[in-house]
């Protein structure tokens, strides 16, 4: 156990500065959460209200709007399906590269990573045209495919890293113990690799949920995700801040929490391992 640092002026100053900066940076989010519990009048109060009587009316009202549920469902379906589909394709590839290494493995891996570096706007026109031609505009299928393809390089890379951490000797021991290929996979590799699968899936779920570029361009009323819904949020009655905050809060809360658990994967996944 490392010794506790001495309580010097520098230490106190540092702690205070850190907390101050953190509160300033987190403030907008905190304000969003607070506003979710206000009435519309309280939301636009001048000066802004820090202490008020909270209400849950917004939550009920937002839920009642049928399009909120639709968009939420779309977000869930597109992000979950694209992640599962992506894992199903990425896992065999990662397994192949981790355990059947060849001279070209590294090149293939780097090529896969490079496809992630193509800016989304570069593919906007063709993908739009393809979706239009296939009648897939404003469809969940189009989003699922695009999300999956966007995250596939990250999934392959992260699964590859986690599989490589499994010592090959453990699999050899299983073989010596009489395990067939399937048994080796099911009883040794899978239990040891499931952690990596899960954390990779979580990160990609977050990335797909937050995906706004394709959601905004390929969908409108039917297959829109929460990202698009929030973008066009306005209430016909005029005042809508509290409801907007509430809808936003509900849209982002679970994902932000998932994000807290994905920090390490985020660093690994989005820098392609360039930072250790």
């Amino acid at each position: 156990m490392a010794p506790k640092p001495p309580v010097t002026a520098a230490f106190v100053g540092r702690a205070i500065a850190a907390w101050l900066v953190t509160l300033v940076i987190f403030f907008p989010l905190g304000w969003l959460v607070l506003t979710s519990f206000k009435t519309e009048l309280q939301a636009i109060a001048v000066p802004p209200l820090l202490f008020f009587k909270p209400t849950l009316a917004n939550f009920a009202e937002v839920q009642q709007r049928s399009d909120y549920l639709l968009y939420a469902t779309n977000s869930v379906i597109t992000s979950v399906t694209s992640t599962l589909l992506g894992l199903a394709i990425a896992f065999p590839a990662a397994y192949s590269m981790a355990f059947f290494r060849s001279k070209r493995t590294r090149d293939v891996l780097m090529w896969m990573l490079s496809t992630k570096m193509m800016p989304a706007v570069g593919a906007l026109v063709p993908i739009y045209v393809l979706a239009q031609t296939a009648g897939l505009l404003d469809s969940r299928l189009a989003l699922i495919v695009v999300f999956m393809l966007s995250n596939l390089p990250i999934m392959v890379w992260m699964l590859y890293s986690s599989l490589r951490d499994i010592p090959n000797e453990i699999l050899e021991a299983a073989r010596m113990d009489g395990a067939s290929l399937w048994q080796e996979f099911r009883r040794v590799l899978l239990p040891l690799g499931v952690g990596g699968l899960f954390s990779t899936g979580l990160l990609c779920l977050v990335l797909a949920w937050n995906e706004a570029f394709w959601s905004l361009n390929l969908t409108s009323a039917k297959a829109g995700t929460l990202a698009t819904m929030i973008a066009s949020y306005s209430s016909p009655e005029g005042l809508f801040w509290a409801k907007l905050s509430c809808a936003s809060f509900m849209a982002i809360a679970p994902i932000v929490v998932f994000g807290w658990f994905s920090q390490r994967q985020l660093v690994q996944g989005l820098t392609f391992g360039a930072v250790k």
């Binding site: 891996l109 800016p119 063709p126 977050v206 973008a231």
Partner: protein, 315 residues
């Protein structure tokens, strides 16, 4: 290695006695590479299509006349689309805006990120909570981010910033109208600062503590430690952050779409938004494709350096 279907190409015992001096057809087991290739193929094929098909189509569209509302008329018009895109009165503004956006966000996130990472490098009470709070903005949906700032923070009457300005006796700023690009920069920087911070925090963790102790014993003050130890160690991750952000930020779109709509006029239009305007507002797929290729080329230049750096890290 594993479960290889070995195929010996010659008999065993007899060969050893009569092995010729130069034996080109040396007998050995040939491992099957069918299984690994089969496992790799779905990922490779899909990514290959994802890379090639849009690229090919973009190149093709950029060379023909193609309006999405009138798909019938499509004739080869050479480089006319490129010319049209580049001579668009908004083009240079968009380029400048893109570079301003990119440069400002990178500057803010790198400098801020390094400062924050150094600040929370040493333990203090509540550090875990601080880390969690600091990372949160990155996981917010971009459109939520945009509206949060547009309404909650930047509204000139009811927004928090307006209230703060009034506390200091200053006239509140109408961010969206008067400083559209700056507003977008603030939103995007707020979202990406946690990313940079997290990267630098991770990089700092791998720093050799004994080196710092030796420097301290040598009498180095904090600024000197910064200059000679911290910054060089962080150099690599700073480069990575700059490259990653460049690639991802070239496509900043959601924030602009949701708040300023590229305006007023074209004050907050960047290349990505300009392409979008051509494609989905003017329905001119040809011109949009020409523009898209330019963006792709820009991104690829950066990507080459990034790939080289990553490659050195992979074994």
């Amino acid at each position: 290695m594993f479960r290889l279907r070995s195929v010996t190409l010659s008999a065993n015992g007899a060969a050893s006695a009569a092995a010729p001096a130069a034996a080109p057809a040396r007998p050995r087991a040939v491992p099957s590479r069918l299984l690994p290739r089969l496992l790799l193929s779905p990922a490779v094929i899909t990514l290959f299509l994802w890379m090639i098909v849009p690229l090919a189509m973009t190149i093709y569209f950029s060379l023909i006349r193609y309006n999405l509302m009138q798909p019938g008329e499509s004739g080869f018009i050479g480089l006319a689309n490129y010319e049209y895109f580049v001579t668009d009165p908004s083009f240079w503004t968009a380029i400048v805006n893109t570079l301003l956006l990119l440069g400002s966000v990178i500057a803010i996130t790198v400098v801020g990120g390094v400062a924050l990472a150094l600040l929370i490098d040493e333990p203090f009470p509540g550090r875990g909570v601080v880390r969690v709070l600091l990372i949160s903005p990155f996981f917010v949906i971009p459109t939520v981010n945009a509206l949060l700032w547009k309404h909650m923070m930047m509204n000139p009457i009811y927004g928090v910033l307006a209230q703060v300005w009034r506390v200091f006796g200053a006239q509140p700023v109408d961010w969206m109208a008067d400083w559209p690009l700056l507003s977008v920069i603030i939103m995007v920087a707020w979202q990406w600062l946690p990313f940079a911070t997290l990267i630098f925090v991770t990089a700092l963790q791998s720093m050799n503590r004994e080196q710092l102790e030796a420097a301290r014993m040598d009498g180095a003050r904090y600024l000197q430690q910064l200059r000679y130890l911290y910054v060089p160690h962080l150099g690599r991750s700073i480069a990575v952050v700059i490259m990653i952000e460049t690639i991802f930020l070239l496509s900043v779109f959601a924030e602009i779409f949701t708040t300023t709509g590229g305006g007023p006029g074209d004050a907050s239009t960047n290349i990505a938004f300009l392409i979008f305007k051509q494609a989905l507002l003017n329905f001119d797929a040809g011109v949009a494709s020409a523009g898209a290729l330019l963006a792709v080329v820009l991104a690829n230049i950066v990507a080459i350096f990034l790939i080289r750096m990553i490659g050195k890290n992979l074994d």
